[in-house]
């Protein structure tokens, strides 16, 4: 299930980017197609990694959220993020990455705290090359 680029990005964006809705993912700057996004969200739900809730304020909106199983991916996602920052071209600020490397457990704990508190404030800013520019 996770050996799929788009699924990984969706989980990451839910976890650290503050994405919650279909539109949030579309506008994350990664260029995912609507049919693929829809398909992956469906599969991640079926795999029990995310849940979908209809927005209370707006019946059109679906709010996606990681499950317990999904948030358990935090350590792996963090390590992949660190690896990516070290080895791939990325806009991630060096001091931020250095800090994360030194404070792995704190970052994981904070990720889990925000998840439990339904706090969708991004843990990190969008720092992929195209991210954040289209807002």
């Amino acid at each position: 299930m996770l050996g799929d680029r788009w699924s990984l990005l969706i989980v990451r964006d839910l976890m650290v980017r503050g994405c919650q809705t279909f539109r949030d993912f579309l506008q994350s700057g990664e260029g995912i197609a609507t049919n693929i996004l829809s398909d992956r969200l469906k599969k991640l739900r079926a795999a029990g990694i995310i849940v979908a809730e209809t927005g209370a304020a707006d019946g059109r909106r679906v709010i996606y959220r990681l499950t317990e199983k999904g948030i358990d991916l935090a350590p792996a996602m963090l390590e992949l993020l660190i690896w990516g920052a070290r080895h791939e071209k990325t806009a991630a600020p060096r001091p931020l990455i250095a800090w994360i490397e030194k404070n792995r457990e704190s970052v994981i704990a904070e990720t889990q705290r925000r998840w439990r508190g339904r706090d969708s404030t991004p843990l990190f800013p969008a720092f992929n090359r195209t991210g954040g520019r289209k807002l």
Copy 2:
């Protein structure tokens, strides 16, 4: 590059299963096709994650090995392994997983030590559902 199921499996098998050759991967029990394996090995080389050396004892054989960049994936791979053992059906023995969870840093250090020493002894046995049965 790693948002690809087969690439992840190749890196994992190099890292912890003692796989080194094309045939090792084919017989790992995952069912990868020869054209896909060839393609992924090529891409992982191009990405600088693995290197290929012609076998000294046998000119036909190619020995694959993780690079520095590749072995840096150990923490992420370990976390994914732990997550998979917790959340997916797996033949991994529970006590082994519990031990790994308690000794993450030791396991990572041992993985890196074996890599540096070109020691391809598997860190873990093949415990996916079909693994190890075809040998």
